[in-house]
């Protein structure tokens, strides 16, 4: 009757960092879903061209880069947890590289759309919704890249070690979330929308 009781979360892997990141991801998802709703709502309602089906090309390379970076980050985090420093650094560097290529591909796409096709944010409803949705996703990719490269530098300098693996894993959740958002954006913009 007076035996000591367990802590409520004892034995569970849900510590405050994970719960906090899960909540952040939940909040961010609502943010993105509003932009997705706006994109779908305004689909085909632009009063003037260019229309999505005229100018959009399926971003195969960018998609492959971003999705594969989710795998490399898992690989890197596992290596960090196991204390394999160089492998962890390599995993993170690969992730950052792949993410940067995604951003590069987006930049190329945007410059083509703006300078060759004449589609800017104030051109028509398509431009308005397209640049907001894709732009906010790209901004989140950049934010994730900044965090991952900070950690990567730390690993290279030997400051981030196995004892930080848990926190790095929580950051990697954010990266997976950014990936998942891309799948939604891809479906909305490049599959449903054209």
């Amino acid at each position: 009757m007076t035996a000591a009781q367990a802590l409520p979360m004892e034995g569970s892997s849900w510590n405050r960092g994970r719960v906090g990141m899960a909540c952040l991801i939940f909040g961010e998802s609502t943010f993105f879903s509003i932009f997705v709703v706006a994109y779908l709502f305004y689909l085909g309602k632009s009063l003037s061209g260019p229309q999505p089906q005229d100018v959009l090309e399926f971003p195969l390379v960018a998609t492959v880069c971003l999705l594969s970076s989710s795998l490399t980050v898992v690989w890197g985090v596992r290596a960090l947890a196991a204390g394999r420093r160089w492998q962890a650094g390599l995993g993170l560097a690969l992730t950052v590289g792949l993410g940067a290529s995604f951003i590069g591909a987006t930049a190329l796409e945007w410059s083509r759309l703006i300078f060759q096709q004449g589609l800017a944010i104030d051109t028509n409803l398509f431009g308005t919704t397209f640049y907001s949705l894709v732009g906010f996703h790209a901004a989140h990719v950049i934010l994730g890249l900044m965090m991952l490269s900070g950690i990567g530098v730390g690993v290279a300098a030997g400051k981030v070690t196995a004892q930080h693996a848990e926190r790095v894993e929580i950051v990697s959740w954010y990266w997976h979330f950014v990936d998942a958002v891309w799948l939604v954006v891809l479906t909305t913009v490049y599959v449903v929308g054209v």
Partner: protein, 559 residues
Amino acid sequence: MSASSTPGNPSLTGGAGATFAGSIHEWVTTVDHKRLGLLYIGSGLLFFLIGGVEAALMRAQLAMPGNELLEPQEFNRLFTMHGTTMVFLVGMPIITGFGNYLIPLMIGARDMAFPRLNAWGFWMFLFGGLVLYMSYFASMGLYGAGTAPDVGWFAYAPLSGRAFSRGNATDYWVLGIMISGFGSISGAVNMIATTITMRCRGMTMGRLPLFVWMMLVVSFLILLALPVLTAAQVMLLFDRFLGAHFFDTQAGGDAVLWQHFFWFFGHPEVYILMIPGFAYASEIIPVFSRKVIFGYSFMVAATIAIGLVAVGVWAHHMFTVGMGRGLNIWFAVITMVVGIPTGIKLFNWIATMYGGKIQMKTPMLFCIGFLGQFLVAGLSGILLSGAPLNWQLSDSYFVVAHFHFVLIGGLLFTIFAALYYWFPKVTGLMLSEKLGRWHFWLFFVGFHVTFTTMHVQGILGMPRRIYTYPGDRGWAIWNFISSAGVVFQMAGVLCFLAAVVLAFKRPRRAGPDPWNAWTLEWSTSSPPPAYNFLTLPEVRSRRPLWDLKHPHDPDWEHE
């Protein structure tokens, strides 16, 4: 409750706070959940006074037909700033402040899960509020003078677009609310993480105080609603600065989309503000009825149900825009469904009081006022949810009366109850019971004189947001009565301020547990030390202090 008026309390001023500058430095760098809670509540109360003055000015203008006290433009700014202030800069910080202060104490923790994020959230809220009010001085209006936003607190498109809202006034509204919104979101993340991961031994989810449960639901609603507002505001900014066309009807954009987005935030926001009121009542009513809360699990379930239904009712604010029969019926029915879980709660509070030894202390007075007034608010809400009646009453003073019954009769009364109830814990000093009674009765009378009459003006057809009206409509006498009530309300608030000052001038020590209550915060000293509990507590039931006070009949034998 302001930061600098707490001399003689070691845990409030601390060691290095001997000098004034040192004390300020301690408060602005603090990451302690109790101090941040007080900062939230204190700045919320300051904004409350500002918002109250704005309301009083508007009532003075409307007291007589054809009054010329205020310019029409000035009136528009006042109702915009009043609404925005009361929702975002009074309601939000005060509920976050109480959550911050009480959640760790109630679940037996030493701090929030993310203390620094907590501090960041507070500063974002405060700077957001300052940015909004900066518009009075800095916004470049058409005539070069500073102007505050004047597009109403829901800033409907296309009025808020570049073409109709020149200058930067509307941008100040967007930016100020957006900045403080980031603060609210971080606060919600923090409260969820704290509640889930920081509970003490034995504090299972089924034993959480109802306050904590309700704040958990509120936090989820914040995560669901606030980012929606942020997204919509970003779109509005894009429209205004980059020439985007989200709400630009000339380029095929849809002004009604803004209404959908805004109310998809706006209606959950009502519950974000109201559920904390339920939370305070659920802690206070049992203590002053000397009975355990009736139907604990049903209270939790009803709160979750309200949270779920809250996200499906937003368009009942939009019956008059012509959504079509199907949507009208859907939103009318779902809105009426809200009455079921809310009714469950009301009955549970009454059942808690039933057969109890009721002590009519000030917090209980405010809670009883809340029960009756919230019932009226709920009933007029059900009336308004009927789309045909809504077409008649929408945007009239009936609606104004309805939501002031919710937010003042419901929320503000429980906030006052909570202030009287937890003030002894926060400062270690009792508030004057006599002034508290004066406060309650003056405010109660003033509230009803002002807002009960507003139902009549609304039925008589007086639209909201008009700056004056002709004398032959039959509205004049009702408006005069409404305005007269403001005097009583202000007198009531002055009684509260006097009680706070008096508590420090003529201190009466409260001791750790002045109300003979049952939750963990009353087991530590008043004010609590920075670490809350020297040894972390361990609980076996929902009322740990009851168990200690009644070892021969502890609660865990009944739960």
